[in-house]
């Protein structure tokens, strides 16, 4: 650091001169004032002193003067006056006696200089009587002489003062110079020679270690110390910056990712080698002139994506990224992920990474996710995705054909899934060959296929193709399975048209499935087109389902009871509990309708349990009222064994306080068939608990005698269809007779259902049928009416019994 030449300073700008000037001015001002004051004081003092001296002078002559006055002796008075005049300060002396002048003496040159200066007078008393005035002496001072003296004294005093002031000025100046100016000058000179950056310290002038100058030097030293520290820090920072920058450039140059900076229009400002390598843009050294370098210059498959990224990032002021496809020269396309971050000044910074591998894996995974691995068709997801962006506005028309293989499950279960897979592959081949290249094929479930026939919109045009396909699929399949097996299976097809039957794939699938179910049920065709009535039927069913759920919840379901009578004894012994549903809008709904529904939708368990509970409650009430009868309750096959376990039955009986004999369980043959062992265990449990088991609707199903032997029943109920058609001599009568006979031989009781006429009753009685129920006795009636009806029946039976006995 160079010393800057300090501007030359004149001597009158120095501290010494300034302080001297200040001191001088003050001193001379004070001196002047003091001089005047001193002069005045001295004059006053001299005057007083003069008067005092004159008084003293008078004292010395007073007694003599009084003697002269007492004796009026002019001679003596004159002597006294002359004596006084000998003093230089006395100008004139006059002695009076009784107002007259006794003696007078004065100087010849006397001039009364100041008339204002009064003479000194003294009254003279008698020497013998102190209080008696005998005369007066008057003395005039010689003021000129006195003032001359005063002037001399005053001048001396002022001179002395001036001399003192000069000494003070000289002393102050010297002191300021020695104590202040010289050390400052010395420090200043040293400071000029000092190189502060070298860390050198300024020396404190001798003797100033504790003065303000010493502190100033300390402060300067501290300041230079800080300066040095700051300089060192600055130097260190710059060095660190250089290192960082070098690191950054290394990073930039060696990064595997492409890095670039571009302006808002996509013009490249800087980039690294990886960027060039990844984008196949010409290298900077190969570029001649000022060839514009644009981000868009690379061979992007869709250059708009790049522009969109730029816009996105600049508009949001946030990083935006996307995967971009770059077209290669020899078909070696490349996926690049580009992330663009705005730099805040309108330009952007971006990175590019090669994501080709990941992208290909993604595409492959996506393809796998939507493909059925067995057939190579699309799966359900693939079907949905394919038509995801399907839009009615595109006016696209097609037919969706759903194909379901009937009986495939059985084949798969019995022959194993490898055979099933082979079968499916063969089916797929047949479907493919039946289709056109534009058709979209999918397998959406185990044995469910879908064909989308592009452009088809009319049933009559599609029908031949569908029919042909159905026939083709129904042809036998020859499969290698140990030995060659020929397998037959039929396929059901449902067809729905877009947009007529649905505006999107899920809706079309539902429509096609409805048509397919319809096709399967009718059995007349293998295929069916969607019909809106199918939809209506489905919806009707769904509504009933909803209502049933609500009915169970709101207890719109209730029990009615149909009496059962002992034919031989001629009295009422029990009642069958029957479930009724009085729908608020629909009115009476048949159990034939709602019981299967309840079974399908899983409500049967809850309903069955409630039926049992209400029947128990009712029979308990009756038995308390003296009506000693039992109630039989129908149990659906779906309730066995888990929805109504023997434990649940027993618990209900106990809760209602009903003995087991008061409840009979009615089951149908179908229950026994489904799972023999389970049904057997269930029946045995209940019987061992004391309940009786009735076999309902006997004669309508298999009516296998072996079942009757295998299952421990108590009673068989003969179906009302036999009773109704039973005449004096026909097959039905024979059948009923046989059943009764057989039952009796097996030790089972028989209940005849549907007795409507007394002739039937007579016949049955003849055949030895033990019990009966039917309209002849009573329709099913509400519990409230039962007691009255029971009384009527008993009365009627008694009458009839009597006539029957009599008729015999």
């Amino acid at each position: 650091m160079k010393n800057t030449a300090s501007p030359r300073r004149s001597w009158w700008q120095g501290i010494v001169f300034r302080s001297l000037a200040a001191v001088g001015i003050v001193t001379f001002l004070l001196g002047g004032l003091s001089s005047v004051a001193i002069r005045q004081t001295v004059a006053d003092q001299m005057h007083l002193q003069a008067i005092e001296r004159l008084g003293e002078l008078l004292d010395t002559v007073e007694s003599t003067a009084s003697v002269a006055c007492f004796a009026s002796d002019e001679q003596l008075a004159r002597e006294v006056a002359l004596g006084l005049l000998r003093n230089r300060e006395v100008q004139r002396v006059v002695i009076f006696v009784g107002g007259k002048e006794l003696a007078r003496a004065e100087r010849a040159t006397a001039i009364v200089s100041d008339p204002a200066q009064a003479p000194v007078r003294r009254t003279l008393n008698s020497p013998f009587k102190k209080d008696e005035a005998v005369g007066e002496i008057q003395l005039d001072a010689d003021w000129d002489a006195i003032f001359l003296h005063v002037e001399k004294n005053g001048r001396l005093a002022i001179l002395l003062l001036m001399a003192q002031l000069v000494l003070v000025i000289v002393g102050t100046g010297g002191m300021v110079f020695m104590v202040v100016v010289r050390p400052i000058k010395a420090t200043s000179d040293r400071l000029h020679r000092l190189d502060a950056t070298s860390g050198k310290q300024l020396r404190t002038p001798d003797g100033h270690e504790h003065t303000e100058i010493g502190r100033l030097v300390d402060d300067i030293n501290e300041l230079t110390g800080r300066l040095v520290t700051t300089l060192n820090q600055e130097r260190e920072l710059r060095r660190q910056q250089e290192i960082d920058q070098r690191k950054y450039y290394d990073l930039f140059d060696n990064a595997s990712s492409g890095i670039f900076v571009a302006d808002a229009t996509g013009r490249l400002i800087s980039w690294n080698p990886a960027f060039v390598a990844l984008t196949w843009l010409p290298n900077p050294d190969q570029v001649t002139g000022d060839t514009p370098r644009q981000l868009a210059d690379a061979r992007w498959a869709n250059v708009d994506q790049v522009a969109a990224l730029l816009r996105c990032s600049l508009a949001k002021h946030a990083p935006c990224g996307d995967d971009l496809l770059l077209k290669g020269n020899r078909g070696d396309d490349r996926w690049l992920h580009m992330a663009i971050t705005p730099l805040g000044d309108g330009s952007v910074q971006g990175t590019i990474t090669d994501v080709t591998t990941r992208k290909r894996e993604e595409i492959s995974a996506r393809r796998l996710a939507i493909t059925d691995s067995l057939t190579g068709f699309a799966n359900r997801e693939g079907l949905l995705q394919e038509f995801l962006e399907f839009d009615l506005a595109t006016d696209q028309r097609f037919a969706l054909v759903m194909i379901d293989l009937d009986g495939f499950k059985k084949i798969n279960d019995s022959l194993g899934f490898p055979v099933g897979d082979k079968l499916l592959l063969e089916v797929a081949v047949r479907i493919r060959t039946a289709g056109q290249p534009s058709d979209f094929l999918a397998r959406i479930g185990g044995d469910e296929f879908v064909m989308v026939l592009e452009g088809e919109e009319r049933e009559e045009l599609v029908t031949p193709r569908i029919a042909a396909l159905a026939e083709h699929l129904a042809e036998p399949y020859g499969l290698e399975h140990g030995q060659t097996t020929a397998l037959s299976l039929s396929a059901s097809l449902g067809v729905a048209f877009c947009p007529r039957d649905g505006s999107d794939i899920p809706q079309l699938l539902r429509s096609a499935e409805l048509a397919l179910n319809s096709a399967r049920q009718t059995n007349s065709h293998y295929y069916q087109f969607f019909d809106p009535t199918l939809q209506t039927a489905v919806e009707h069913r769904r509504r009933i389902e909803d209502d049933l759920r609500q009915a169970v919840a709101s207890q719109d379901l209730y029990l009615v009871f149909q009496p059962i009578v002992d034919i031989h004894a001629g009295r009422l012994v029990g009642a069958e509990a029957l479930l009724r549903w009085q729908h608020a809008e629909r009115g009476f709904v048949s159990p034939d309708v709602f019981i299967p529904l309840a079974e399908q939708i899983g409500l049967i368990g809850e309903i069955g349990l409630r039926v049992l509970d209400q029947a128990c409650a009712q029979v308990a009430t009756w038995r308390q009222g003296g009506l000693d009868i039992y109630v039989s309750v129908n149990v659906s096959g779906r309730q066995i064994p888990d929805e109504l376990t023997p434990e649940m039955v027993v618990a209900t009986l106990q809760r209602r306080g009903v003995p087991p004999l008061a409840i009979a369980i009615e089951i149908t043959e179908g229950v026994l068939m489904d799972n023999v062992a389970v049904a057997q265990r269930w029946i045995e449990s209940l019987r061992s608990a004391g309940l009786r088991i009735y076999l309902d609707d006997f004669g309508t199903g298999y009516s296998s005698l072996s079942y009757l032997k295998r299952f421990p029943m108590d009673t068989v109920k003969v179906d009302k269809s036999f009773i109704r058609d039973m005449n004096a001599d026909n097959n039905d009568r024979t059948l009923v007779d046989a059943i009764i006979t057989m039952a009796r031989s097996l030790g089972l009781k028989v209940v005849a259902e549907g007795i409507e006429e007394s002739s039937q009753l007579d016949l049955l009685r003849e055949m030895g049928c033990g019990y009966g129920q039917g309209y002849l006795f009573s329709r099913p009636i509400p519990a409230a009416d039962f007691v009255v009806t029971a009384a009527r029946i008993n009365a009627e039976l008694a009458a009839w019994h009597d006539t029957a006995i009599l008729s015999r």
């Binding site: 003599t64 003697v67 004796a71 003596l76 002597e79 020497p127 013998f128």
Partner: protein, 141 residues
């Protein structure tokens, strides 16, 4: 024996004489004055003026310094000691023109002088004042 009696008489006489011997100022009957004030006596004896009210020039007569009466007179008149009176007169005699009173040799001579001169005045003990003179002033003790 005679000495003893003399002493005894002296002792007896002294207090008697002291007590009885008042000083009085006497004048010639012809002076024409019957009475003088103390100031008159002071002014006349200390030289202030010498003219009596009757127009006669006063001639004060003093006794010698040794005289016991002189000291008593001045003490009783102006409360001054003889040296003070002498110092007073010395200033006037030395530098002025005023003259001190005439000096008589003794009280008897003084009485004679008064009897002889009309303006003369003298101080004596009352017993000395005989028919030739009149008492014009009595000095208080």
């Amino acid at each position: 024996m005679r000495a003893f009696i003399s002493l005894l008489i002296l002792f007896l006489a002294l207090p008697l004489s002291a007590a009885a011997a008042d000083l009085v100022l006497i004048a010639n009957p012809k002076a024409g004055i019957a009475h003088l004030t103390q100031d008159d006596v002071t002014n006349i004896y200390l030289g202030r003026y010498r003219r009596l009210t009757s127009g006669v020039t006063a001639e004060p007569i003093d006794l010698p310094n040794e005289s016991e009466f002189k000291a008593r007179f001045y003490r009783q008149l102006v409360s001054k000691s003889l040296p003070e009176i002498n110092a007073y007169w010395s200033r006037l005699i030395f530098a002025g023109k005023t003259q001190p009173p005439q000096l008589a040799g003794s009280a008897e001579e003084a009485v004679r002088m008064v009897a002889r001169r009309p303006g003369a005045l003298a101080y004596v003990e009352r017993p000395h004042a005989d028919a030739r003179v009149v008492v014009v002033f009595e000095l208080a003790n």
